[in-house]
Point group: D4
Chain length 203, copies 8
């Protein structure tokens, strides 16, 4: 794959020992590294073997930058419905950045207060590809898809309660979007959205 | 109940004989009558015993008007996302009208083309209560709820395919609405929405 | 929106820091404030920056009253099937009160002991709008709907076990109510029920 | 099993040939026979080999009576929420009768019009065991269970649409009944309810 | 209800204070009392106000016996598929006993080792009504139902993992039993099974 | 693959033209051929291009035998719970036979009448691998698995109604079997069971 | 939108009259037109008002070409697991072509015969974006995603039976893909996949 | 059963006391013993009564070897998609070994990096029966099934998040495998896979 592209570790369900072993092999290859689903405790263990590791407690992501990546001038917009969607959105944004993309964050523009979306429309329309992160009723990707002429990557989140069924409601809504140009990744899969958006932005 | 309020027959799963027997008893009481889920064949049998029965093939509703009902000056808005949602919307609208309400219909203003919604916002905001009918991702009630300061009755429809799961997707989205002031009735239940909207409009 | 209407914070999934930041901005605007899904710990932090904040440990709701709200003479009935449904019912009642409504609470009148419901029927029938809160089989809204000529807002709760599936059983029952005039909000959504009931009571 | 107890054929998914072959063997044994899920066409074929076969087009049940069965003086009440539940209720009632029981039918006493239930309470309370048949929200067994001191066999029906999910809503409601003394059989399983009620009535 | 019949408290989701308040009112009426879903901590608080309270840590049930109940000579069999089903079975058995019934326990006779069932068949066949408790594939009630001529109350348990979906697998299996004479209560509802079995045993 | 092994066509969702084109290519290779999910109409078209094609209307299977296959002396038992499971069982049996296996059919030995199973136990225990086909509660594979020391291939069928949910109930039961030595194929997948049983029989 | 971009009609659930009215308005604007979910009967009515309309009976798509669209030199690969997935794949391919793209079709390369996939790998790797269409277990997009460095649009189809649950199995598999760079559209939504692939190809 | 075959305890949901009582009875019979779902704490209690007990913290399995078992020369391959699937795979492998089989482990060969699978194909093809363990999209068994001519036992794991629904996604994928020769056990049921693979390997 591309020069400077990071190697990735998905840490959920791995012991600190397993993660550090994988990491050490990667560090030997002098790769850029992205680790996702990293708890604060795990990060502290990682920092011991890699003091330049950076950590986002919001996104629960670790980034290790060893090599320069080329960054195209076009950018990816990461649009968030509510503040509870921020961890997933930030996982997406940091992934996209580490893979060599400029990212524009537009937060808290859910359909319940649609004027805020319109106030940010120019920034969204200027992107080459748009990631839209939303929980509960998952309506935002359809709305954005109708307003923007670019590919929309919809990310359902598990934000909500009751009949949100841990993200199922948002997932189904996004799959049934009546706007053309919307595709969907797994519930809470910020990484996956950031990765495919990066791919598209770098075509 | 109120003077002039119609009696109602839900015809699904009843034989023509059963429907006509119920109808004849009602006609004897000289009631206004609303029959829902009426096929054309059934209507033809109804017309034989009641020549002044009116039929909407779109809504599959029969209305029989024998008594005047008082109609308040405020109105109910019935808002529809797509053209395929029209049968359910019309069941709601005709129900509301037969129960003595003025109804304003606003059709085809789904979130994929949100400018059409804004073009109709005044008519929606002028209503005392708003019925919003949508299938697929069921996003419209949230959007309307955020723009309007009146109770919103959300009606999910079974319009869609695949992961719409016969209206489940729209239903879940509406239950998880992040807009305050939205409540929900059963999938395809235009009648129920029209009834409760009428109740609210006549408080 | 209306004079004196509270601003609302949904605290679930927000850090104390996030909640307090939002709160401080609201306090600056001198708004009435409703905060829902507030743990005792969070309330203690809130009290430090806002000593007149009131807390209901049952409803897990914080109310801050700075401005008078006009209260209509009609009232909202909040009807509860069992004692385990009280937290959700109280979230609804306190929401309605803070939004400027008189509330009548009728508790523990579930269908298993229907005489208790009949003993309270007058109080329920006197309301302008009725909120009915029930878990398990969710049968109470149908029964109330058949006895009362006012809009019924049904709130399913996650009370139950086994095949209650965390409120799904009650939710489905309420959506399928054979009584006219019943609409439904999300599982455990006392706030949403209180809000729309307030809207209807103040039409 | 007991003297005079019928042999049973469940005809769904069997060809007329298969049904007639089974029937002929039974007739040779001179048994009383109950056949369920019998279409009119199938009945016509049955009548050819067994002219004294009786058919209920409502219940889709065939009864062939060759031997006397002893009938206890106590009776089974079969209670129905709506008219669309009649086919299932009648399958239960005819099963119970053919197995040697007196049956009292109480129809159309669903929770939306609870006065009709109270008007029939004496007949229900007089039974030794009560079968309650209901679709949609399936609330009636809970209500009856709370009013009656006898075992209640609840039969959910597939009557309804949308979120009734072909009887799932009624089934879940009945399983979650907050009334003690209620147990449940499969959706639309009138036969099963009639059988176990007969067992209990003849203890 | 019958002389000596216990009053019942379902303690799940109630605070110790709520439980004790209810209990004290009952003790004043000198009732027999059954409390279910009681943790050890809760029992210790109960014992302080009621030193003669008995506790089963297996069934998590408290029994307080103040009055004699008449016990018929017939008995209820409580049959268990595996050892993990014992808590639910014991809730059923203790309920039945406190309501005035003799109970015969037959444990660990699941379908995987069917010879153990046959070794106990006489004890099961001698009962007036049979409770069968099983998790995982929930096959035992069908097998017992085919071997026994008495009403079978099937209790699915949440025992299992993976595709048992917390008791759903066992529940569905029991509802679809091909044996006549089987009815079903909620997942893990030992109390409900014991109650209705008692009702039947005392007819 | 092995000499004489048939080529297979799965005909569901293919036009007669598509099936015949595939078939002609296979016939040119002089293969043995198995076609599944074949309607009578389709078979009639097949017979025109291949007069020696054999058809089982029960299994909806076409077999074309051009080459001899070696058949081991051990055999596969195909065990069926009810008569409605026969089509799926026969798809399994015919598949196994065409792939070169002796098959012993044991029908109608479901758990409701367990004596019939015991009467056939020797034939089942003599097999090298056992296919068990059952719908509704899907209990038979667990029972057989407990009685037999050989691999059991469980095939859930869509036979049933209501809470059988088109085979889901049987599928879940089989996956949760408490008997060791049971594995499961898709609902109604007689072909798949016959194929893997053949593989095992020919090891 | 772009010059020459077609207008689109989704014909499912619309009457011939509705479709023709929409079409006539579009024809007046001299647009290129894509109509999806068109039955043969509907096409025949369309042809009467538009004799140059082209129809694909496989994809059930009508194309009307009035204006030239610019076509980039890069191409879209449409990859299909089985022959039954062809209708959905062809809806995708024809959509992409009418929106001005070169399309390379690679059919019948499902995971059961992975050598066929490898034989076509060059053609897939040469594309700018890849659409992968699969039913049943929906495994192909993961495999392709691991072999190709381009965005993969995964389309689950409703092909299958039993536990495929009308495409749910394939949908879930695709959402859970362990390959990076895969996003998903609704079950059977060839149109949506073709549209977003076109968007990406024309960035 | 066979000489030297271990007795098995499934420890989940049993107290240490229950486990030790069962164990002591087995030790008296001098059996080989396999205990699954054993926590470290439980193991420490077991070691006190049985110092030669071996424990795998990865598989959470205890093995006690007292008697020699005959081991055939053929082997079972245990193939794993990802590292998070190792605990389940190891439960399968240790089960198979204790039941007297040689096991070849092939780890981390999931479909996202298919070259690793091909690099290990010889080892897989050399086995008499293959166990394939995978979570998330569960695609690996289909791929292996297409490449290998031996029975494949597919084990879905609960590895994943969001729409993996605790292993449901992988389970459905495996049930719908388009490769012949694949059968499935319960989610995370390493033991069951090891047991049936052992049965097949020792035929
Ligand atoms: N409507 C019904 N629903 C469920 N089970 C039934 C029904 N009617 C008959 N049965 C059962 O089906 C058995 C006969 O099944 P079969 O041998 O397939 O005809 C009877 O003994 C009953 O246990
Ligand atoms: N384990 C149990 N599961 C289900 N219902 C129960 C259980 N124990 C008691 N009940 C029911 O709960 C009622 C008491 O409920 P409550 O008034 O909330 O304490 C009793 O009368 C029983 O009907
Ligand atoms: N009844 C069936 N159910 C599931 N799979 C089948 C069935 N019959 C045949 N197959 C499989 O379908 C393959 C042929 O599929 P196709 O190439 O689409 O005709 C065969 O090689 C079998 O693996
Ligand atoms: N096969 C399809 N599946 C999903 N959406 C479609 C399909 N075909 C067309 N559409 C969408 O439906 C819109 C037209 O819908 P309508 O206005 O109802 O005709 C188009 O703009 C597309 O966004
Ligand atoms: Mg767009
Ligand atoms: Mg609003
Ligand atoms: Mg009412
Ligand atoms: Mg009762
Ligand atoms: Mg029996
Ligand atoms: Mg066995
Ligand atoms: Mg890739
Ligand atoms: Mg293979």
């Amino acid at each position: 794959s591309r020069v400077g592209y990071p190697e990735v570790i998905y840490c959920s369900g791995k012991t600190a020992e397993q993660v550090k072993a994988i990491l050490e092999a990667m560090l030997e290859r002098d790769s850029n590294i992205l680790a996702t689903r990293v708890s604060l405790e795990l990060f502290e263990e990682i920092r011991e073997i890699c003091p330049d590791a950076l950590y986002s407690p919001l996104a629960r992501v670790v980034a290790i930058k060893r090599k320069k990546v080329e960054v195209p001038s076009s950018y990816i917009a990461v649009v968030t419905a509510g503040t509870s969607d921020l961890p997933v959105a930030e996982e997406a944004a940091l992934t996209a950045e580490l893979f060599g993309n400029r990212v524009e964050r537009i937060v808290d523009v859910g359909v319940a207060g649609v004027h805020r979306l319109f106030a940010n429309l120019e920034a969204i329309r200027g992107a080459r590809v748009v990631i839209v992160v939303a929980g509960m009723e998952g309506a935002l990707p359809s709305l954005v898809g109708g307003l923007v002429d670019k590919p929309v990557i919809a990310v359902p989140t598990s934000v909500g309660y009751g009949a949100s069924f841990h993200g199922l409601s948002a997932l189904l809504a996004m799959l049934n979007s009546c706007s053309s140009g919307v595709c969907v990744v797994n519930i809470d899969n910020g990484y996956g959205a950031g990765y495919i958006a990066s791919m598209i932005n770098q075509l």
